[in-house]
Amino acid sequence: MAIDPAKSLKELETPIIELEKRLNDLLEFSKRTGVNLDDKIRQLEDEIKFVVRGIYSKLTPWQRVQLARHPNRPETTDYIRLIFDDFIELKGDRYFADDPACACGLAKIGDLKLFLIGQRKGSTMEARLKYNFGSMHPEGYRKALRKMEIAEKFGLPVISFVNTPGAYPGIGAEERGQAWAIAENIFEMSDIKIPHLSIIIGEGGSGGALGICVADKLSILENAYLSVISPEGCAAILWKDSSKADLAANMLKLVPEELRKLGIIDDIIQEPAGGAHRNPSKMGEILKNYIVSTIKHLQSIPLDKLLERRWEKYRNIGKFIEEESAVAGLY
């Protein structure tokens, strides 16, 4: 099936939603009347699987950005419930406020004790407003840092979930030093003496993401992205037309496979067919296994080596040439 790149994700998903509705109707009818429709039901289930695979395996970068922002996509709040056996939230930056856009706390998977930092988007409109759609204020970054230092002191590995359109753009955020808060987090995280695994679960919006994700391993879900600027913002700057976001999304090379080629992303974590929102509990299970094995691996590396590797990774990101002839456009 050819995918129309101009189609929004919502349009693409419409046939699936219709098929699923038909399936539900059949199931209900069969249950209510006692008529055996098993063959028909199985046939329809296969058809849905086929359509889902066809659509989601060929998404354009822009469609994947939309998938990363899908309103039903599981987010930190869901993963706290799906992945961890226990979570004790620790609030407040001790200076100004508690920023609910970022959840911090003690978390457990079986015997494995962790420190969780997660950007929260919320799943209802009320929650989304409360969490500013995942956009953190300076107090959020300062809280995250303060709590990471607790993790460092008491030897808990840090797991962070990145999911933000960007740091909050507002008057208060600037008054309280948004740039300084992000810079200081990057500065400290680059040398924090504990293993840190960071996973981009949806949107990795620029400096807003960077403020919590300087880690030993930076991994990403299959349908998540990391970008220096939103595709709409980039299109608005380049062509004064934010509707050209699909073009910008292609250019920015923001999808996981491209990011891995650039040496920025370490692992890409596969999602259930059709994306995390089609099977959140399966996604939670995949993440749980990934977190446990990866944290155990990071814990097995001596700390000085871990810090050296973290430093080396970021020291080596960048592409340039070094030749005199490049000066003044001579090459």
């Binding site: 740039a179 300084w180 620029s206 090379k253 970021y314 020291r315 592409k319 005199e324």
Partner: protein
């Protein structure tokens, strides 16, 4: 941008201030370090001019001049990033939006990095990230202070995608290593210093100095206005605003910069 005008007007005896409309005599203007005497607007300086204004005469020695960007993402097809780079390189005879090197400040050697707002709004891609990281490494080895002067409205350079974003980490960790080994880093924020540059090395000075009335912050004022759907208070995101909120140590006028830097280095380093 105001800075390019200055160069074009070299042969003109006078011009009108772009902020207040006052008549400015070019020779006087240069003598007072590109500041309008009527409204005290500090015109942006090129890196070379910064060096001339602040440091010991003829003391500058450029480093890593040969490092140049490449079109990592193949932006070429859409907006011709390679052509743009080539054009800017020949126009300004430098490879990217930064000049680094060593200077003498009252005979004390320091490493400097100065971004150039004429070059893609002084934005940080691979070259700025690498050259900034290197001066901290050199300064560590040589046991010298580091001074950066930023005029970067562009933040992290979008033409190099997430690679630019990672330069924020690369430069910040370079500052960390340098400072935690006892290095002195003074960051001077000139007009404008925003976004990815402000949210990385520029914010991490032991001492942070701002020029008067510079635009300083994270998110650009237009984006904030669009988001909150109200106009911003007067003076928002200026140096004076940041001083009031506790994010810079002092505001220093251009003509006092040399003597202030000399004093700071004397107190903290000598």
């Amino acid at each position: 941008m105001g800075s390019t005008k200055n160069d074009q007007q070299v042969h003109q005896a006078w011009f009108k201030c772009e902020k207040c409309g006052n008549i400015i005599y070019y020779r006087e203007f240069k003598e007072v370090l590109d500041i309008c005497q009527s409204c005290s607007y500090h015109y942006p300086l090129t890196p070379q001019r910064w060096i001339d204004c602040i440091f010991d005469e003829d003391s500058f020695e450029e480093l890593d001049r040969q490092i140049a960007s490449v079109d990592i993402l193949g932006f070429a097809e859409q907006i011709n990033y390679s052509n743009k780079l080539r054009e800017l390189r020949s126009k300004f005879e430098q490879n990217d939006a930064i000049i680094t090197g060593t200077v003498e400040l009252d005979s004390q050697t320091a490493y400097v990095g100065i971004t150039d707002s004429r070059f893609l709004m002084g934005s940080m891609g691979s070259v700025v990230g690498e050259k900034i990281s290197r001066i901290f490494e050199y300064a560590h080895d040589a046991g010298c202070p580091v001074i950066t002067i930023t005029t970067s409205g562009g933040g992290a350079r979008m033409h190099e995608g997430a690679i630019s974003l990672m330069q924020m980490v690369k430069t910040s960790q370079a500052v960390r290593k340098y400072r935690s080994n006892g290095g002195l880093y003074i960051s001077i924020l000139a007009n404008p210093t925003m976004a990815g540059v402000m949210a990385s090395f520029a914010a991490l000075g032991d001492i942070i100095i701002a020029e008067p009335k510079a635009l300083i912050g994270f998110t650009g004022p237009r984006v904030i206005e669009q988001t909150i759907k109200q106009s911003l208070p007067p003076g928002f995101q200026t140096s004076e605003f940041m001083l009031q909120h506790g994010f810079v140590d002092m505001i220093v006028e251009r003509k006092g910069m040399r003597s202030m830097l000399t004093k700071l280095v004397d107190y903290l380093w000598l």
